[in-house]
């Protein structure tokens, strides 16, 4: 099993939101619209939309990072021109969201939202700051490991994926019910980015790589 089970009681919010019934197959219907996906134009995304450090007058506080990788299909082929969206907390672990009650400072120079389209090699690239860990009240002393939220479209609505990227060596992953909801160790490792000295830019920013492999559609696997 690749994805977490919907019902993962250690993550309390799943208890009343996880569907109880098994999902229904629609395999074998080649005309199913779920096997197609919206397409995006490069003119829809601004040139600076992938740089979260340049969206305000000043620069955000925090450790500058470059995060890049490829969006691949299950055979390892690049997924071109697909939309990648990213959002995150600021360096203090606070979201620019009205309902985030964590008493950590907001950063007037950081919204924490970006997007880009992959290039012909399936590659995306973001410049941002490393988010802070934050508490979330799921259980006593619950803290989310530092993470970036990713949203990817792919070539079919069935390949649509929302996930989270973690940073290598974060001690909080071992205690995090959301990360640990993924049953399989190899699948968990997929969500941990790799530090890259090659990507790291002198006197500027640390580099991390993070590839995303999208699922095959039900028809492809049937």
């Amino acid at each position: 099993m690749i994805h977490p089970p919907y019902l993962s009681p250690d993550y309390r919010s799943t208890v009343l939101r996880a569907p109880a019934q098994a999902p229904v197959a629609f395999k074998g219907d080649p005309d199913a619209i779920e096997l197609t996906s919206p397409v995006f134009g490069h003119d829809e995304v601004g040139a600076l939309d992938n740089d979260l450090t340049r969206q305000h007058e000043g620069e955000p506080i925090g450790e500058r990072v470059i995060v890049t990788g490829r969006i691949l299909d299950s055979s390892g082929r690049p997924v071109r021109d697909t939309l990648v969206e990213l959002w995150q907390a600021n360096a203090a672990g606070r979201y620019a969201h009205e309902l985030d009650q964590h008493p950590a400072p907001l950063d007037p120079n950081f919204t924490g939202a970006g997007r880009c389209l992959t290039d012909s090699d399936g590659r995306y690239r973001f410049v941002t700051i490393k988010p802070g860990a934050y508490p979330w009240r799921n259980h006593h002393n619950a803290w989310r490991p530092a993470h970036l939220h990713f949203s990817v479209f792919g070539r079919a609505f069935t390949e649509r994926l929302v996930t989270q990227m973690y940073f290598p060596g974060d001690p909080l992953m071992a205690f995090d019910p959301i990360y640990r909801s993924i049953p399989d160790e190899a699948s968990r490792q997929r969500l941990i980015s790799a530090f890259s000295m090659d990507l790291t830019e002198p006197e500027w920013a640390l580099g991390y790589t993070f590839d995303i492999v999208l699922g095959s559609t039900p028809t492809e696997s049937s």
Binding site: H3, Y11, S13, Q21
Partner: protein, 163 residues
Amino acid sequence: MTLTPSQTVGPFFSHALPYAHDWELVPDSYAGAVTLTGHVYDGDGAPVPDALLELWLGQTGDRGVLRRGSGLVSGFGRCATAADGSFRFRTARPSGPYLSLQVFARGLLRSVLTRVYLEDRPDPLLDSLEPARRKTLIAEGADGRYRFDVRLQGDGETVFLDF
């Protein structure tokens, strides 16, 4: 290759994923526009105020997905639920019998995928379901105004697709 597993969209996406007019796939003036409204409920029947819904018609239309153009048509839309769990879309009628609807929320470790049929009719998927389950995929309404509720769990639980 090992696939990338899903993780929840979490509670704090509204500064990032919604965009201007995201729920309006067609302009107000569009002839034959369909409005689709409803609520998302949890296993206690309580509204889900922090879900994100995505509607897909299977055709992109003549407008880019994100950028708005007056009078143009998109095949994709988004709507974050309001505090009362409600959502709304204004869309063109799909060329087939149903619209594809995907729902993300805090507490959903992976999105759920369902279909909104605008009328009950013979259909391979509908015909594979027992009547009470089948009913969960049929929107109520006519004349371009439809209601469709998403029940994530329990009584009247919406049929979700395996994907």
